[in-house]
Symmetry: C2
Subunit: 226 residues, 2 copies
């Protein structure tokens, strides 16, 4: 079976890619470049993670339209990136409207062309800061839409192997399976040294702390998040 | 109610936009530019149709990735455009894998940002040459995915007002509602004078013939299709 993995270059998608490589005969990696603040750094992570996992078939797709459409601090420079607040229940400003819907639509098109039967995506429901397109119910609904909207002989599953993991479990499982953690990048704010203050850094640092493991990448500050 | 209409500049989407304008307080038009053979001509049609309907809020999104992904004669210059065969039941080479899935994902993102509650799409099930993502069952499934994958206070319907029309009904209804037919473009092959030979020209010419109306746009040849 051939699979596609959506690979941003962060921890979650890197573990997902590692799992996809164990479960598939061939894996192709898809990176969606939506020209957000830290795109250059993520693209480097995508290449280094793919190298480490031996994934040769790669596609980088420019989806700058998500910047044009705006509505998110990740793509719209006029909206400030919110500082981490891990107890907030509202949807943070880094939410890109229907982002995973767009990612999966592109992956489905590519899957139909290259004959892939699974799309692996590293969404995490619990740690997803309330993004509605990170829930398993969304992936189930989208898989059904793909099934109806592609050729009759096409069968494409959406696989979410880390969806119920906490960040600490992502860390532990990554170590256990030998995922290339050192090549990953998570920070929404910086490209050289992770800021340690944005939502994404906060979730990552808390996950490492809970797992009792030190994060190998450099940070400007390393707050202790509970 | 504010609506988005997917407006390619062809007959079906132009009638759909005309209907959206009658049913909505405000309409925004979205053109997806996937850099296929006749994109320049379609973009002109998009602008002229929008002008004629008084639609001021417009977004043109570059989705060149569908060309990179390939797999279709519309986007991949190495695949020949098939000549019209209106009795064929197989999926033609002009099929772009999961195209409407991509279109609707982009529309959903924009709808959430601008507060639109409906996405009008001019898909036609019967005349769609067997494209699986033109069926009502696909739109129902995708609407459900949008409902789950967007913010809880977001409600976005997918409206397909012409889905059960034959091309002749598109022609008649366009005349009845005063849709700007003369500004539309359908040909997959040419930009100045429609070829009259591709699937899209054949469907259009047959529709006008069945409606007993002469198509106002110029053709290189005007075969009589049954």
């Amino acid at each position: 079976m051939k699979s596609i993995v959506l690979l941003s270059g962060g921890m979650d998608s890197t573990l997902t890619a590692t799992i996809a490589c164990r479960e598939s005969e061939a894996v192709a990696a898809l990176h969606l470049n939506y020209r957000h603040r830290t795109e250059g750094r993520e693209l480097r992570a995508f290449q280094e993670v793919s190298d480490a996992l031996g994934i040769r078939e790669r596609l980088e797709v420019d989806i700058e339209f998500l910047r044009e459409i705006g509505g998110s601090s990740l793509t719209d420079d006029t909206i400030e990136v919110t500082k981490a607040n891990l107890t907030a229940t509202n949807i943070p400003s880094s939410y890109v409207p229907f982002r995973n819907g767009n990612f999966l639509a592109i992956a489905a098109s590519w899957a139909e062309v290259i004959g892939a039967e699974a799309i692996y995506i590293g969404a995490v429901e619990e740690d997803s800061s309330g993004y509605p397109d990170c829930r398993q119910s969304f992936f189930d609904a989208f898989e059904r839409a793909i099934g109806i909207g592609t050729k009759p002989d096409t069968s494409i599953r959406i696989v979410t192997p880390v969806i119920h993991f906490r960040k600490s479990e992502i860390v532990r499982e990554s170590i256990k399976l030998g995922a290339p953690i050192q090549a990953t990048w998570s920070c929404y704010q910086s490209e050289d040294i992770a800021c340690g203050l944005c939502d994404s850094c906060a979730l990552r640092l808390r996950g490492f702390a809970e797992a009792g493991i030190e994060d190998p990448i450099p940070y400007t500050v390393r707050p202790v998040y509970q």
